[in-house]
């Protein structure tokens, strides 16, 4: 769709249901996946709650959109960084997160983990490598 390939990073910093930012960020990611750009997502601050497993929104009468994250691998969105410090500050570990995977067609569709836990310092250098940073 376009001749240029840029590094896109989506920074997800907010809890999933307090505001609409998380959901509408995911909508940009899904549409953007059609553009053949190099895409990664980062979850930090309260954004780590977006990919916590076992979400139940029935009490707040909002759509539980968390299953959509499981589809990201099918859109070739498979670089999901989660900030270690943000998890720790909220008493979370990677075991509290959804198991998000993708299938690597270069390795006979082997299933691989999409999530990589990185330190705050590592995330800073990941941000620095990007051409485009969306912050939601």
């Amino acid at each position: 769709m376009s001749e240029q390939i840029k590094n896109f990073l989506y920074l997800n910093r907010r809890a999933p249901y307090g505001t609409i930012y998380a959901w509408e960020s995911l909508e940009v990611v899904l549409i953007g996946a059609a553009f053949d750009q190099k895409v990664s997502l980062a979850f930090l601050d309260d954004g780590v709650f977006q990919i916590v497993k076992g979400q139940d929104t029935s009490g707040v009468e909002m759509k539980n959109f968390s299953p959509t994250y499981s589809a990201l691998g099918d859109y070739d969105v498979n670089q999901l960084y989660v900030e270690q410090e943000s998890l720790e500050e909220r008493g979370l570990t990677i075991d509290d997160l959804m198991h998000l995977t993708w299938e690597d067609e270069d390795e006979d569709w082997a299933e691989k983990d999409s999530i990589r836990v990185v330190s705050r310092a590592e995330l800073a250098s990941i941000i620095e490598q990007q051409d485009i940073v969306f912050s939601f």
Binding site: K6, F8, F134
Partner: protein, 130 residues
Amino acid sequence: MKFAIQVNEGPYQHQAADSAYLFTRAALEKGHEIFRVFFYHDGVGNGTRLTTPPQDDRHIVNRWADLAEKHGLDLVLCVAAAQRRGLVDDGEAERNGKDATNIHPKFRISGLGQLIEAAVQSDRLVVFGD
């Protein structure tokens, strides 16, 4: 330099709507190019022609429209965000069976692909929001 601008907050509620305008105007005055201004989240509220602020206040919608008139700016409201928040043009009214429109004629409604394209085509994407 070629800029893409993203506005994530509504008018009057949040200074991001003002800062985006002031940045865009300043960039144009310095001779830079604005590839597109894309309004997302509550930012789509910057594009309704029905806005009526008190007379002694700035008119945020008309201010964008005047800048667009002068510089040929492309002002785009995200369709999904607009549908949720009741921003309607002729096409949307027709498609969704609405009895009115409220978009300002200097704005248009289009898809999120326009945001991605703007980011790809510009030297810098500048996001205004929280």
